[in-house]
């Protein structure tokens, strides 16, 4: 399902360790009409949500079951993300048990870190059927 927090390309997944993906930021996104007309920037919550999407993918690959973003702490926005940027997203698994997982995450444009997340928290989806693969 495509959403405002979808990934454009998964670059690498190391099950149980890390995942890397790309998200493009085209000027054609409708949201730039209102965020903001004189200075379009990608909303920070969407960067957080997209890192969450990648973390969910990593945990699905690691455990063969479904997870969802449960929260975050230590989220820092260091630079604006503008139309034309290409976000390189990386999440690293710190720890997990049957019900919760903790990752760290970084979004970068070229070599510059634009968003860092000290802890990205995921919850296993209760009652969710194991994923096929």
């Amino acid at each position: 399902m495509t959403s405002l927090m979808s990934l454009d390309r998964v670059v690498d997944v190391e099950s149980g360790r890390r995942a890397e993906a790309i998200r493009a930021v085209p000027g054609t996104l409708d949201l730039f009409d209102s965020h903001f007309p004189r200075f379009p920037v990608l909303p920070g919550v969407l960067i957080l949500g997209t890192l969450g999407t990648l973390a969910e993918l990593l945990m699905r690959d690691t455990t063969r079951s479904s997870w969802r973003l449960g929260g975050a702490s230590g989220v820092r926005y260091r630079h604006f993300v503008r139309p034309g940027d290409l976000l390189r997203l990386t999440v690293e698994l710190i720890t997990h048990d049957d019900g919760t997982a903790t990752c760290s995450a970084v979004a970068a444009v070229e070599e510059r870190r634009v968003t860092t997340v000290r802890r990205l928290l995921l919850d296993r989806v209760a009652g969710g059927a194991p994923c096929a693969g």
């Binding site: 399902m1 959403s3 927090m5 909303p43 969407l46």
Partner: protein
């Protein structure tokens, strides 16, 4: 989509607090099905908290300043907002000066928290740099019913 996550400002106290709302509709392009039925994705509910905060900043600075997100100390997504729900957003200013503001906020559906956020730090930047003042003013009048 129009990236306006607050539909109405129900009450506010300049430099202190704001209460707003967003109504969730299946007709909204923001609502998607992530696998367990249509939902307003939790990060967008967080955005509603942030936008309530930025409107409060504007209302507290005679429309001169808006808030740009610098950091989030903590956020928990503890529930879902689904079509038909009314999300009530409460924002509280923890501290504020000419350059930055720190807020906390909670979004609730039917009285139950769905998103809780603490230590949302924002830079206060000139509102005119982001949007034409007349457009911001029109939006504020629409939100507050003034």
């Amino acid at each position: 989509m129009r990236f306006h996550l607050i539909d109405r400002i129900d009450e506010y106290e300049p430099r202190r607090s704001v209460r707003g709302r967003t109504v969730v509709s299946a007709a909204s392009p923001a609502v998607v099905d992530l696998g367990d039925g249509p939902v307003l994705p939790p990060p967008l509910v967080l955005e509603a908290i942030c936008q309530a905060g930025t409107w409060l900043i504007m209302l507290s600075t005679e429309r001169r300043k808006r808030a740009a997100l610098l950091q989030i100390g903590g956020v928990r997504f503890v529930g879902d907002a689904r079509p038909g729900d009314v999300v009530i957003v409460d924002g509280v200013v923890e501290s504020m000066n000419d350059e930055t503001a720190v807020l906390s906020g909670t979004a609730r559906v039917a009285g139950k928290p769905v998103v809780e956020a603490t230590d949302i730090m924002c830079a206060l930047i000139d509102a005119d740099d982001l949007e034409a003042p007349e457009d911001s003013e029109r939006m504020l009048r629409q939100l507050t019913g003034a």
